[in-house]
């Protein structure tokens, strides 16, 4: 893949910053991965519980609705009477929150108030036992429903969150980390390139300097030899200063451009 990288200026500071980011991304990745694993474990447990609960549910509901049929057989229709006499709930559901690796899962808890409730006298004339039995059966069924509801909500939420977490893990692993690595590689290569240029420049300057020094030396030698050749030692000694002045004037050559 043609290296996707951040658009940063290749400087040493940016390199440090990007390296810190890489470190952060890696830590985040491992943390998220662990979270996802924890959630998945939890998810499996819930899944197993849901399966059990659903299987049990069928049976409990069947018993309950059948006990209602028994009541209908013996007592007749008591629905209205029971509904009217219900004043306070004997069965309450409390919603709680459970924290699973940072995910808040709602948990429902059933609270059954003790006592037979207001309609304990229902069916006094006939079928009271069946009424109470149907009541017990339905309390069990509702408790089951509450448990199942709690599991089911947790199931849906966990499913969603596991998906999100896995998406993040993969995003970090396959997109963010490679990009940061590419960026680092890019910065490094740019910096190396700069180093090499700098080195070359220094070399070039050095060689120019050497060349110039060699030429100056040569001119001095030349002048000295000419003076000796003229035999004008005295002039040569006395004309030492003008000769040096000339040399400086001669230095007005072109600038070296790299």
């Amino acid at each position: 893949m043609a290296a996707v990288r951040d658009n940063v200026f290749p400087t040493r500071m940016n390199l440090t910053v990007t390296k810190t980011r890489l470190k952060g991304a890696q830590t985040g990745h491992s943390l998220l991965k662990r979270k996802s694993e924890a959630l998945t474990t939890r998810f499996r447990v819930i899944l197993r519980k849901i399966e059990d609960a659903k299987l049990k549910m069928g049976k409990v509901m069947q018993t309950a609705s059948f006990s209602l049929a028994e009541v209908a057989y013996i007592t007749g229709d008591i629905g209205y009477q029971v509904r009217e006499n219900a004043k306070r709930a004997t069965f309450k559901v409390a919603a709680k929150q459970e924290n699973v690796s940072g995910v808040l899962l709602p948990a429902f808890e059933a609270e059954v108030r003790a006592g037979a409730g207001q309609f304990e006298l229902t069916g006094l004339g006939r079928g009271g036992q069946q009424v109470q039995r149907a009541r017990t059966a339905y309390v069990a069924a509702v408790a089951m429903l509450v448990e199942l509801a709690s599991l089911q909500t947790a199931f849906v939420i966990l499913d969603e969150i596991i998906k999100v977490t896995n998406r993040r893990v993969n995003a970090i692993e396959y997109v963010i980390i490679p990009r940061i690595e590419n960026t680092i590689a890019h910065i490094n290569s740019e910096l190396d390139e700069q180093d090499r240029e700098e080195f070359y420049r220094l070399k070039k300057i050095q060689s120019k300097k050497k060349e110039r020094a060699a030429r100056a030396q040569k001119e001095i030698d030349e002048a000295a030899r000419r003076a000796i050749a003229d035999g004008n030692l005295h002039q040569a000694v006395g004309g030492d200063a003008p000769a040096a002045r000339d040399l400086l004037a001669e230095q007005a050559d072109e600038d070296v451009i790299f």
Partner: protein, 355 residues
């Protein structure tokens, strides 16, 4: 000498009722019904009985509640036919039969009024047999006191109310206690009325009503275990008639659990056989047991008594018996339908066979 004049007034109706009796589902038909796998099969089987024409126009996924409603409609239609054709002594007897349903309806209305429900909705829930003329007027009353003063005093039940309750009680007492108090008064009154009718009716009806009273006594005892109903109140709800009055009732008023009830019932010949083999731990909530419950025994006994009343002629008991048998039949059919629709075939045989 009753027998000579009996047919003048009651001959036609007795004939009708005996004809109705022959329409009751017989045991081979019950066997066929229990063989059904789906509600449609059941409908098909019922088509050969008196219910056939009723269910013809019902849409195919037949629910048990529709079935029950249709059957009750049929029962009501037949009973109302009897009422419309009845002359003085029988019409009064038939009215007496409906008082039981009236009590239920009135309790329903009072409960609804206490909770400020719309009384028009309540009227739809009332049992059609328990309708009386002033009942729609109950809708006008908004408080219980008003209800009592304006409506109840005109109703046939006024006497029962006057005897046992005051308007203040209506607000305070548990509805279930009121219902049972009224029912007790009704049973006693009905029994007294039957006795006044003279011999064949009196003998037969007193037997049936005694049994009804005994059954209520036992049931009230069993069902009041572990409730707020005090023992004095319990004793006050026992009808003052029947084989258990007064001796067994005084004993039953003091018991605390099923074993003691059993010990008392064993002293009475007709009930000893009934409690043998009955699962007494029923109150513990063991719904898985397929053993016949005490209620089932009571039903069987009731059916037996009511069948016996058809063995004699020239008495009014047949009307009461037919209604009870028909009710039992509806219960049976609904039970079978429930078992089929809930796939509980192992309990399907728990109905009470009639013929």
């Amino acid at each position: 000498m009753n027998e000579i004049h009996f047919n003048v007034d009651a001959g036609y109706l007795e004939g009708v009722v005996r004809g109705y009796r022959d329409g009751l589902i017989t045991s081979p038909q019950y066997l066929n019904l229990t063989q059904c796998e789906t509600m449609d099969d059941l409908k098909l089987q019922l088509a050969t009985t008196d219910y056939g024409s009723l269910l013809q126009n019902e849409p195919s996924p037949l629910s048990t509640s529709t079935l029950a409603a249709r059957c009750t409609d049929a029962l009501v239609a037949e009973f109302q036919y009897l009422q419309q054709n009845a002359a003085e002594p029988i019409s009064r007897f038939l009215d007496y039969i409906t008082y039981g349903y009236m009590i239920d309806n009135v309790i329903l209305l009072i409960t609804g009024t206490l909770h400020e429900r719309d009384t028009h909705d309540l009227l739809e829930k009332c049992h059609p047999l328990g309708f009386f003329d002033s009942m729609p007027a109950l809708c006008v009353a908004t408080t219980v006191k008003e209800l009592y003063h304006t409506v109840m005093v005109d109703s046939p039940l006024a006497g029962y109310f006057r005897e046992c309750l005051s308007a203040e009680d209506l607000n305070e007492l548990n509805m279930e206690i009121i219902r049972n108090t009224l029912y007790k008064a009704y049973l006693e009154d009905f029994d007294a009325y039957c006795r006044s009718l003279g011999d064949p009716t009196a003998t037969i009806m007193s037997e049936i009503l005694s049994f009804e009273a005994d059954r209520r006594t036992v049931n009230i005892t069993i069902n009041s275990f572990g409730t707020e109903l005090s023992k004095d109140d319990r004793a006050r709800l026992y009808p003052r008639l029947g084989g258990m009055y007064p001796e067994a009732q005084t004993k039953l008023a003091r018991v605390d659990d099923m074993d003691q009830v059993k010990a008392i019932l064993e002293q009475y010949g007709e009930y000893r056989s009934m409690i043998v083999g009955v699962n007494l731990s029923m109150a513990g909530g063991d719904s898985g047991s397929s053993a016949l419950s005490l209620e089932d025994r009571f039903f069987a006994k009731e059916v037996q008594l009511n069948k016996d009343s058809f063995e004699q002629q020239f008495h009014y008991g047949v009307f009461y018996s037919w209604l009870r048998l028909k009710e039992q039949e509806i219960r049976n059919v609904v039970w079978i339908a429930e078992c089929i629709s809930q796939h509980q075939k192992d309990k399907i045989a728990n109905y009470t066979n009639i013929y």
